[in-house]
Structures are given as C-alpha cells and as structure tokens.
C-alpha cells in the first residue's frame, strides 16, 4: 500500500542533510510501529523516497515523500502516529494514498521557494525590473563542459513580496538552485538570507 506524505521541516532541523533526514524518518517509522515494506535483494531498505532533496539550511513547508507499507492503515492514523514520534522540527501535514504508477521523483516539475531578503520593497521591485530587461544567462559548469542557462527559462515566475521574493523554479535539466536565483537577483549573497521551500509541484 503506497502513501503520499506531505511534511514540513523547520527550526534548527534545517541544518541537517538529506541523508540525515532519510535516517530520521526510517527510525521514526520504526518507533511508530508502522509495518514498513522492504526492498528485495542483498541489502534490504525500507521502501520510501523523498521527492526532492532539500539543501542544508533550507526550511520547507511542503516536502513530499512516497511510503510503502505492508498493509493498509488509515492515512489519519499514519499521520498521528508519526507526529507523536518525530523530533520537533519535522511535522507530517498530510497523508493520502498514492495511486500514481510513476515514481514521485520523476513527477516533480516545479518548486516554489520563498526567499527572505532584508531589503525594502522598492529596492526589490527595482531589481526585478532590471532582471526583466536584462534577461541574464547563467553559465554553469557541468561534467560535459560549460552550459548556458536562460534565467527566465528556468524561473517561471518571480514575485516581490514583503521582505523577499517568491519564485517558481522549473526542475529538470536546465534548473537553477534557489541560491543561484538569489545571487542573480541581488548580485551577491547576503549572510542573513533565508530559503523556505513552499511547495513541490508535480506533473
């Protein structure tokens, strides 16, 4: 039985890595006594996967995970059991059956980020204007050599809000990390910038 879990990561727990997050969940499943399904083969692993790794230092309001259990449990119960054993900082927001055949990872198409910047609204708006006229291209070093990425191709939308921006970034081959978006937007990376993943949009 497959489920889709939506969860948040906040507080000091934003300082743990993707791998560490996987471990936190595996142990929480065990403490919650969930009947985990395991992969076949020499080194059996519990069957769950996180849609998209979240970088160290980023918070999130909308992480997605696919989880397979050996038997059916009511989604509400899964949510409650997990929330009672997860360390504070992680919270399961929603659980529902996952009925799609495609893997969760392959369906990720866009991510929405809120980037908190300590600048005034007018300043932020001016920078957006500049970006719209400049249409910058970003040079990335990949294994196959240099690659140019069109900013407005990678960023579908950029909205100025109170104390920061909201961006919708396309996920795929010509993708940009939120830090790269912020750097293009500001021209530099301030120390007190904050990243919050608001949503992962599936296709």
């Amino acid at each position: 039985m497959k489920y889709l879990l939506k969860y948040s990561r906040g507080g000091e727990l934003k300082y743990i890595s993707h791998l560490d997050t996987m471990r936190v969940f595996e142990r929480a499943f065990r403490r919650a006594n969930l009947p985990m399904a395991f992969s076949e083969g020499f080194n059996p692993h519990p069957k769950f996967s996180i849609a998209l790794p979240l970088a160290l230092g980023h918070e999130s309001q909308g992480e997605l995970m696919e989880l397979t259990l050996k038997q059916f449990l009511p989604p509400e119960e899964i949510k409650e059991r997990l929330n009672s054993v997860l360390p504070s900082g992680f919270k399961v927001l929603e659980v529902k059956p996952y009925l799609d055949d495609k893997s969760l990872m392959s369906r990720v198409s866009k991510v929405v980020y809120r980037i908190k910047i300590n600048l005034s609204n007018t300043e932020l708006l001016a920078r957006k204007e500049k970006l719209l006229t400049d249409k910058p291209r970003i040079v990335k070093n990949t294994k196959r050599g240099e690659k140019q990425i069109d900013f407005w191709q990678a960023v579908e939308a950029l909205e100025v809000q109170e104390n920061g921006i909201n961006v919708v970034i396309r996920v795929g081959e010509n993708s940009l990390r939120p830090e790269e978006v912020a750097k293009i937007f500001l021209g530099y990376l301030p120390e007190d910038i904050e990243y919050i993943r608001e949503e992962i949009i599936l296709s």
């Binding site: 300082y15 791998l19 936190v24 142990r27 065990r30 403490r31 519990p46 160290l56 120390e191």
Partner: protein, 621 residues
C-alpha cells in the same frame, strides 16, 4: 551569541545542535550541580562512546544536577569562535565551559590530550589547575586516568574506574560546597576523601634522572598513596542504561548499544583494557533483553550492538541475539557483535546474525607466529584460525580482515614475516575451500605498531625505535607485494611514537603537552592534523627527546610513575606475567574456574559475576 549565524557558516552544523531525539535540556538553575562532559574529539567520535551515554543518563536522572555535552569543535567552528570572540559551549543550554561547576574530560586515548588544553582555552577556563580560582573544577576519568600524571598540571582531580556511582558522591560534595561557600581547596580536600579520587596538588612527586619514581607523598594527612578504582555495582541491576540520544549525523557507531558484560579476563598481555576493567561481570540475559527493548522503543535504530570487550565470550550470546533477531527482524533491524574471538562459533553466530553477507569478517590473531602469540598470551592457535576462516569462506564470505601488531617484545624478523605467511595461508584456504572467484578474494592485513601501556605486563618496556618500525614495515611490504590477494594496511610509525611517549609519561611531560598546545597541536589522532615535528620540538624545548622518551625501559625493580594508580591490579601479578611472557608460558582465563591472582578482586572486595552458575574458586591476592 547568534547561534543560528554560527551554524550557517560551518560544515555539518548538526554537530552543534544539541536538540537530537532524547537529548535532555534542563533548566539552567542556580542550585543545580552543573557538569560539562567534555569529549576531546569530534561529535561523531564522542557520541559513539558508551561511557558518555551512561553518565548522561545517570546524572540527568537526578533532579539536583545536570550534565551537558561538549565536543571538540571542528577546525571551521574553532576558527569562528576565535574570530568572533565566542566561548566553546555545551550543546544543550549553549553555555560556555566556565559557567559550569564541574568540567569533566574523558581520557580515551593519549592522542586527544592536546585537545583537552585547547577546549579549556576555548571554553574560557584557565588551563593550569594551580592558577584557577573558584569554579569550575576540572576533572578527568576513563582509561587515561590510570596514568594521570602527564595531565596533573591541568586537571584538579581524577577519578579511577567506572563513573556511575562515584559521580553521585562527587555531586553531593559539590552541592554542599556550593551551599556552604567552601574555598576551592577545601572542596578538593573533601573530594580527595572519596575512594578512587586523586587530587594531584595534594601530592609531592619526584623522579630521578632515569624517570623512576622516587617520591610520591601526600601533603595532607589521611590521603592514600595507592588508589583503588571504582566499580559500579548498579551495572548488574540495569542502573547503567545508556542514554538513547539519536544523532542526526552519521556517527562512528550509529546504533543502539546494549552493554552485555564488563571486563575481560582472557589476559592478553598487551591489552590495557583487559587489565583495568577487571573483574568480569556478566548481565543476565533477561536484563540484556529488557534493556534492548527499552532503547529500541525510544530510538527506532536499524541496528542493535551487543557491546563488550569480547562479546563472543558472553555465555548467552546466541540466545540473546536470536531472541532479538526474532523480535526485530520484521522491522529490518540488524544485530551486531563487536570483537569476535577466533573460533567457528563466532562464524556460526555471524552467519546467523547477518542476513546480508556483504560485511567483512574481522579477526585479530595479533601476531604471526605461535611463539609470539604465546608471549602475548593470545590463546589462539594457527589451527583455530585456519578452522575459523575455513568456516567463514564456506559460509560465503569473500573478504576477511586480520589485525596484527609489530614491535611486540622479543619479536624476530621471522615473527614479522609470519604475519604475511599466515595471511597467505588464509588466502589459500579461500581459494581452496571457499571457491571464491580469484578476483573477489580479499584478505586485508591491518598492522599496527605495538605501544606498551601502563598496568600491563609489558609496562616496563619502551617502544622500538622509529628506524626499527620502518625496517619491520619494510619486511611486510616486500612480502605482501608479491601477493595480489593481500591488501596491507600499516599504521603510521610517528603517531605510535607519540602515543608511546604519552602513555607511559610522568608529571614532567605536562610541560611538553602545554608547549605542544601553544605550538598549535590538536586532533593528533587524525592523520590530516598530526604534526610530528611540532611534538618533537615541544619535547626538545622542554629538555626531552621524544623518541628516547618513548623508548625508555624500566627494570622490574624500579618504581614506575603510574604505580600508585594500578586500581587493584597487583605488581606481583604483572611481574609474573612478564616473566611468563619471556618463557612463552600461557596464563588461563579466570572465568574457566581458577583465579590467576591478578589482585583486583581482593583489592575491591568483589568477585567475578558469572552467569549460569559458573564460579571462580579460591580467589587470592
């Protein structure tokens, strides 16, 4: 301090979070006794240490005291602390070291001593004990406390032996001292009355030219001249349950640790742990199972480790492991056993436990020839090893790891070469018995350099010279090169020399450690930081030659600088063992029924606690 800002700037910030699952953050109130438990190495190393977890649980269970963790900061964090003028802080309440009442260090290995000085400095605590005023008191325990003298300048008091019960007595004294506003010296004097506690400033110590102890004299009356270590009686009743903090980071031993027994009486003559943790005390299988269950409920770990110095010796090991496996298999939990002995039972057990055959099987013959193994009292024959690896290859293993030492007393070139010959025999068996495909077969030969330790039968001897280590390593290299099935790993000889110098050091070497610290020594146990020239310089500037110091030997009649701290092991026994070593005579394990007279039981007024009705007869001093 702006903690979030610091975290954003370092690698692996999870080292400093302190909010792991089951971490205890108590209110920072006035009349609590506040203890900082300092582990002089990185978080990943320190959190793997059982002693820290046991004391964490023991102290934090009380409502009049708290114990918080402090680890050596990694290079990037140290740099930030110094740049921004912050103090080294505890993980739970983020308090600087100097705000605690007690700052305790655990002495697990000599190569972390420079980190102790660095941590005191970073934590805002005066490095030299004699210059400190008021609180905190700096204490130290762990195996290194059995030769406390090299750190005597920096530590206010040492504690010998197991900490769970003595820590309660220390807390009581500190509580009273705080309420009544005692002077520092009076507090220390009260602490010195606790059995197992050593306060170096109350003793006059001197040595002769050759480093022999000439005087060890208490400066106050009613203080001991010989220290008996502490034993935790509550261990066998489940009082010593380790704290189940679940780190976010992948630490060295990232699993549920359940202690099944303490002590080892096999009596390998090079092994300090085997001497200082005696006698053997085995928990009942019921208690082990109950503790495992408690820890698993709170952690959800993917592996349970049944921990002890020699887990294969625990009589109920198979029963306990099987019960745990039955219980947790469904949830994908592995059972692991550290330090397997060399017999087919170990292989059977490992096969049963490992549903996954990928892990390497590790054995420690320690020496390459029978003559040498008799000298060190490693009760293992070549036949044992051959039968064991035969069983292992038949059971499907394709890689085996063997641990050896070079530089053992009376070692000849033939003994050194014997290491490779033995490893080759093991590889041959793999080809013949295991039908392991040629390219897959791998025998890893890991060779460290023997470092003589206090309170072992080899305590009188120095380490062999740098030249000699290199020469013997050369023999190994030449022989191993021809055989592609072998992979030879050798330990750096320089770290071994420093370890040898510090492990049998006396009070005079405190100056050297301080100088090394001033020159920038830290993380000496980590290859990427270790700087041998720096240490050589520190020794020279204080009037010692590092290598000569590491190599110094004593005669059996000399008084040794660490002799007062034997904890209960008798000198007579160690001398007998030394002579038996030279004669190649073996000494049995007292668990087999007959006391061999190490002296610990009479000194501590206890006897080994063996399960299943086994007993040791006629215990003598």
């Amino acid at each position: 301090m702006n903690f979030a800002k610091l975290l954003a700037l370092v690698q692996k910030p999870a080292r400093y979070l302190g909010n792991e699952l089951n971490a205890v953050k108590k209110p920072w109130e006035k009349n609590l006794v506040k203890i900082a438990f300092c582990f002089p190495d990185l978080y990943e190393v320190g959190m793997s240490h059982l002693g820290l977890r046991i004391l964490y649980e023991t102290v934090n269970r009380r409502d009049d005291a708290l114990l918080e963790r402090v680890f050596a900061p990694a290079e990037d964090m140290e740099k930030l602390l110094r740049e921004k003028g912050y103090f080294l802080f505890s993980l739970e309440n983020k308090k600087p070291l100097w705000e605690f009442d007690l700052v305790g260090f655990t002495l697990q290995y000599e190569l972390s001593y420079s980190n102790i000085l660095n941590m005191l400095e970073l934590g805002g605590v005066e490095i030299f004990a004699e210059k400190r005023r008021g609180w905190p008191l700096v204490m130290a325990g762990g195996p290194g406390a059995f030769n406390p003298e090299p750190l005597a300048d920096f530590i206010d008091f040492f504690v010998l032996g197991e900490g769970e019960e003595v820590v309660a007595e220390i807390i009581e004294v500190v509580k009273e001292a705080k309420v009544k506003g005692w002077e520092r010296n009076d507090t220390l004097l009260a602490l010195a009355q606790i059995p197992g506690v050593y306060v170096p400033k109350f003793y006059r110590v001197s040595y002769d030219e050759a480093g022999r102890l000439t005087e060890f004299m208490p400066l106050k009356k009613d203080l001991p001249v010989k220290f008996t270590k502490r034993i935790a009686q509550g261990f066998l009743s489940g009082y010593s349950l380790p704290s189940p903090i679940v780190p976010y980071l992948d630490i060295v031993h990232n699993r549920a640790m359940v202690e099944i027994m303490r002590g080892c009486s096999r009596g390998c003559r090079f092994c300090q742990a085997g001497m200082i943790y005696r006698p053997v005390r085995e928990k009942t299988p019921e208690l082990v199972l109950a503790e495992a269950e408690k820890i698993m409920e709170k952690t959800g770990y993917e592996e349970i480790s049944l921990a002890s110095l020699s887990s294969g010796d625990y009589p109920y090991i198979r029963e306990v492991a099987k019960k745990l496996l039955d219980k947790y298999q469904e949830a994908g939990v592995n059972i692991s056993l550290p330090s397997l002995r060399i017999d087919t039972f170990a292989v059977d057990l490992a096969s049963e436990l490992q549903r996954v055959r990928k892990a390497t099987l590790t054995f420690a013959p320690e020496a390459g020839t029978q003559r040498m193994r008799d000298i060190i009292n490693k009760g293992v024959t070549e036949e044992d090893l051959i039968n064991t690896v035969k069983a292992a290859f038949k059971a499907g293993w394709q890689a085996i790891k063997l641990y050896f030492m070079i530089g053992l007393p009376y070692e000849t070139d033939e003994d050194v070469a014997g290491i490779i010959h033995l490893a080759q025999k093991v590889a041959d068996i793999g080809v013949k018995e295991g039908r392991v495909p040629r390219g897959r077969l791998k025998v890893t030969v890991s060779v460290s350099n023997f470092v003589p330790k206090p309170h072992t039968p080899f305590q009188w001897l120095g380490i062999i010279s740098a030249e000699e280590i290199k020469r013997r390593q050369g023999i190994l290299e030449k022989l191993a090169k021809k055989d592609r099935r072998l992979s030879l790993k050798m330990h750096d000889y320089r770290t071994s020399l420093l370890e040898a110098a510090l492990s049998r050091a006396d009070r005079r070497i405190g100056r050297v450690i301080y100088r090394a610290h001033k020159l920038g020594a830290k993380f000496d146990g980590w290859q990427e930081y270790f700087n041998y020239e720096l240490w050589q310089k520190a020794f020279l500037e204080e009037g010692f030659d590092l290598e000569a110091y590491a190599r110094r030997s004593f005669s059996l009649d000399d008084r040794l600088p660490w002799e007062p701290f034997a904890g209960g092991i008798s000198q007579r026994f160690l001398k007998k063992e030394y002579r038996d070593a030279m004669a190649g005579k073996n000494t049995a394990d007292c668990r087999e029924g007959k006391c061999t007279g190490c002296g610990v039981c009479p000194a501590l007024e206890i006897s080994p606690v063996l399960t299943g009705g086994r007993k040791v007869s006629e215990i003598f001093a």
